[in-house]
């Protein structure tokens, strides 16, 4: 670890080394005790029996339950992101409009949907679709899940867009005005394309939030057959609750870690692409100020600007900054 953490303690002398060894042993003992308790409890209940885990190394469980569930999860997440992006762009630009009658409604819509739990939005959407007979009984759950996710994430992405546009240097706007572009023109032709690349990592990490939130679709009255819903059918067939939930949680974690990796990659790609490695526009464009926006639109202190947070921590914390946005 670099940065603040090594500043926190000296290189250990004999006494500190002894203390660290004692702490290591104590902590390892506690971990081992917990692990032993878990293993003993599990094996007493025969949850570790090979018969309960074996289904997951056969093809059947994957092709019948897990992969169809995962496909539904990814489908709902992908659709939600694709629809939420333009919705977010419109709302975000709406908040930047010069006209009060566009700015205020956009602000109210954004703040409203950010304050409401996604689960409520999904339950409500499902009920409305049933009442108004929208869609068929088959695709209504998907519609409800996507509607809930689009409303919430559209509002979140609106803030990301707004922060992205605001993070661009003023010179961009001034140059556009100088060559005679109107506001609508320089917004769509100059600012938005640049903001999009700045926001790319934030958008990819918003996808992590969306993937996690699709799991709400199997709850209450929504009845969307996504990955978590397949747990019920698997445990009903094999009676292997512990194994099933472990495997399903691991699948979600794997998908999210891949997305986080991609977010980090896109950020690094942007940094090198914008910065050209020689400073230049770096300060304004590449230090993704957009990610420093929190849920309430108050900027978090940008780590890279601080004396304590040198470059080695930057990657880790820039990821953290936007993961923090939406626990």
């Amino acid at each position: 670890m670099s940065g603040a953490s090594t500043v926190l303690y000296d290189a250990p002398g004999p006494k500190a080394r002894m203390r660290n060894i004692i702490y290591t042993i104590l902590f390892a003992a506690v971990l081992a005790a917990v692990a032993a308790w878990v293993i003993i409890t599990l094996s007493n209940l025969a949850e570790l029996a090979p018969s309960k885990w074996k289904p997951f190394v056969t093809e059947n469980v994957w092709t019948t339950f897990l992969l169809p569930g995962l496909w539904q999860t990814l489908k709902a997440a992908g659709l939600s992101l694709v629809i939420a992006l333009p919705v977010g762009a419109i709302l975000g630009l709406g908040r930047l409009s010069d006209h009060v009658w566009i700015r205020w409604p956009s602000a109210i819509i954004v703040e409203f949907f950010r304050a409401i739990p996604v689960l409520l939005l999904m339950v409500f959407a499902k009920a409305i679709f049933v009442a108004a007979n929208v869609g068929s009984a088959d695709n209504r759950p998907l519609l409800a899940v996507v509607t809930g996710l689009v409303l919430y994430n559209g509002a979140v992405l609106a803030e990301v867009f707004r922060a992205g546009v605001l993070s661009l240097p003023r010179g961009q706007t001034e140059a556009s005005l100088a060559i005679g572009l109107r506001k609508g023109q320089y917004m769509t032709m100059i600012l938005l394309p640049q903001a999009l690349t700045v926001m790319l990592p934030a958008i990819v990490s918003q996808l992590v939030v969306i993937v996690k939130d699709t799991a709400l679709g199997s709850q209450l009255t929504i009845a969307f057959p996504e990955l978590l819903a397949s747990a019920r059918t698997i445990t009903a067939n094999y009676g292997n609750t512990v194994a099933t939930y472990t495997v399903i949680a691991l699948i979600y974690i794997a998908v999210d870690l891949v997305l986080i990796f991609l977010a980090g990659r896109s950020e690094r790609w942007m940094r090198t692409r914008r910065g050209g490695g020689k400073g230049g526009q770096r300060g304004a464009l590449a230090t993704t100020g957009v990610m420093a926006e929190t849920e309430m639109g108050v900027p978090v202190v940008d780590q890279e600007m601080l004396p304590g947070g040198k470059a080695p921590m930057a990657g880790r914390f820039s990821r953290l900054r936007f993961v923090l946005n939406n626990p």
Binding site: A4, Q219, L220
Partner: protein, 229 residues
């Protein structure tokens, strides 16, 4: 719009929101404590603690909250027999699922608290920690007396967003039958099909009422407590 259901005695809307508030407060206290401990582990000089903190945060932050909450009920309680309430008590099921939900929220939310505090530690100028070391403070004294008090003040706003997210996340407890706002709304939406929109408006308003003051209040507090440098 039809708001007749507000006077219907079978729907205890205030009671449901009270459960939401209870869940939020208990989970918030728990995750603040556990999250701070985790942050301490992640910056500690003991490698095994750092390792544990990293693995814990990466596992539980990336698992969907819904999976964790459902698992506390189906795996921990039903399968492994963990009981968080007295078996014979008349409110056993309600108490048990309420406490399991709080446990699930703490496990999940503490990872975000940990990361917020860790980023706060990074905002403390290195000179502070260096001066603390120079006067002979050990790592835990340094963290406890010098770094954390400054770090915590700089992360009030991020922690406020975590708290707001937690308030909204408590609705997930409905999936294991905790009688909070989302569960009540779900039943009301089934029964009051002629007043769908007004039911939603009431619950949406309830959540706005819960989250809006938290943001404003903690934002003001953050400004007041900010470390002037």
């Amino acid at each position: 719009m039809n708001f007749d259901f507000l006077s219907d005695p079978q729907y205890d809307i205030l009671g449901a929101f009270l459960v939401t508030i209870e869940l939020t407060i208990l989970a918030a206290i728990g995750s603040l404590i556990w999250g701070t401990i985790l942050a301490g582990m992640r910056v500690s000089p003991v490698p095994i603690m750092r390792w544990f903190g990293t693995v814990y945060v990466n596992v539980f932050r990336n698992a969907p909250l819904t999976v964790l909450i459902v698992a506390t009920s189906v795996v921990l309680s039903d399968t492994l027999g963990l009981r968080l309430a007295a078996r014979g008590s008349s409110t056993f099921i309600a108490d048990n699922s309420f406490r399991l939900a709080v446990l699930g929220f703490i496990v999940y939310t503490s990872t975000f608290v940990c990361e917020a505090i860790r980023s706060g530690i990074n905002t403390v100028p290195p000179g502070q920690a260096e001066a603390a070391r120079a006067i002979g403070l050990t790592f835990s004294q340094n963290l406890r007396l010098i770094v954390l008090p400054q770090a915590l003040r700089s992360v009030i706003v991020p922690l406020a967003s975590v708290l707001i997210a937690l308030t909204k996340n408590t609705t997930v407890a409905a999936s294991i039958g905790v009688a909070e706002a989302a569960l009540l709304m779900s039943t009301m939406v089934e029964n009051e099909s002629n007043a769908l929109v007004s039911v939603f408006v009431v619950f949406a308003f309830g959540f706005i009422l819960l989250t809006l003051p938290v943001g404003l209040l903690l934002g003001a507090l953050a400004k007041k407590l900010a470390v002037r440098r």
